[in-house]
Symmetry: none
Subunit: 222 residues, 2 copies
Amino acid sequence: MPKLVAGDIALALKKRISDGEWENGRMPPERDLADEFKVARNTVRRAVGLLEEDGTVVRQVGRGTFLAAPDPNSLAAVVARMEGTSPADMMEVRHLLEPAAAAFAATNATIGELNAVRDAYRTACEATDMPGFEHWDAEFHHRIFACSRNEFLKELHNLMRILRNQSPWFEMKKRSFSEERRLAYCDEHEKIVDALLRRDPEAARAAMTAHLGTVARNLLGR
Amino acid sequence: MPKLVAGDIALALKKRISDGEWENGRMPPERDLADEFKVARNTVRRAVGLLEEDGTVVRQVGRGTFLAAPDPNSLAAVVARMEGTSPADMMEVRHLLEPAAAAFAATNATIGELNAVRDAYRTACEATDMPGFEHWDAEFHHRIFACSRNEFLKELHNLMRILRNQSPWFEMKKRSFSEERRLAYCDEHEKIVDALLRRDPEAARAAMTAHLGTVARNLLGR
DNA sequence: CTAGATTGGTCCATTATCGGTTCAGATAGA
DNA sequence: TCTATCTGAACCGATAATGGACCAATCTAG
């Protein structure tokens, strides 16, 4: 009888896949499936062939059959996609987060934390080489997030910092670096520090917004 | 036997490491592990090789295999810390990002994307069970980020969605769910959709801000 | 300081398991 | 009957695991 068993099995397999069976990403060998479905291996092969055609599954000789769709909503997949973030997108998000973080810091920081921010600012000012300045500049921004009293915000900045330290970014930052711009950044940092020490959230927000505007212009070249 | 034993062993070892076994920082010799897992040493070597690749472990000839000092600035560590994010911190960040995303969407979305947002809104309205509503509610918010024309922003929302789908959050959302609140959310979603379809960024931003205010009150109980 | 034990690094022939292919036959429906 | 499908079996080539040997670096006991 043309039972269409293969099609049925393909459907059953799809269901079991979407139900999360075989979360390790590996399907059982065709011979085992044949036993389980009480069917010849060729039939299972047809069924799996259908899954392979529509991309649900990938087969490798000598290794096995694997689920093709690594869950696009997994943490790993999300982070992997973030690694391709464009500078423009990144700057846009920084504009959303950093001024707010500065405002939070102005109201929430302890005096010790503010001193740490000021120290990072000063060290950055004294660093004349590009990697040294880059490091303390990042540290300056990070310490502001650190006193925003929002752990998640702080970790988001950590995330952005890591992404910005990867290869394509480093080249871009090196290209856009100049002594003149370094001094401009120091000026702007100083305004931010002043606002924080005055405990003035709106001034801190405004100073940070202005600073990010400069950074964006320099980095994106406009 | 190509059963991919090495990968399984690598996973088992990772689990035992994160469970705090070998706190002295030293792993057993490969030969012992081979005995323990009833497997050839070459197989264990492969497994440990995987751990070495992703930096969980360091091997030294003649000395042994040692747990690598966890780098607090690694992506993995950052993500791990994010898993402990408090609802209050999360809501604060949502307040920073989502209104902006809605405003971006109002100006940048294609008509097809806006229809997708509207569809998600409608489906959520029709879902009366809590998991179904929860899913389409998340989908609604996600589709707004998807048409913000900022890939990084979109992935950040993906990240937040994953964090919010973990165990402590699920309980909290279930507790705060009620038919009355579901209807209120639908009303607010409608206002957002309207603003998007009118291509009015400021109205979209305001509607989203109002909605998040409601969510925060319900979730944090104030 | 030296000899021996321990550990990871490398290599290789062998064996087992996997998907890929083919084919002759059985079985049902048009 | 003709056609499509499943059966059962054999064989191929790819890949992983086995089990053993030997090397080089390191540590320890005498």
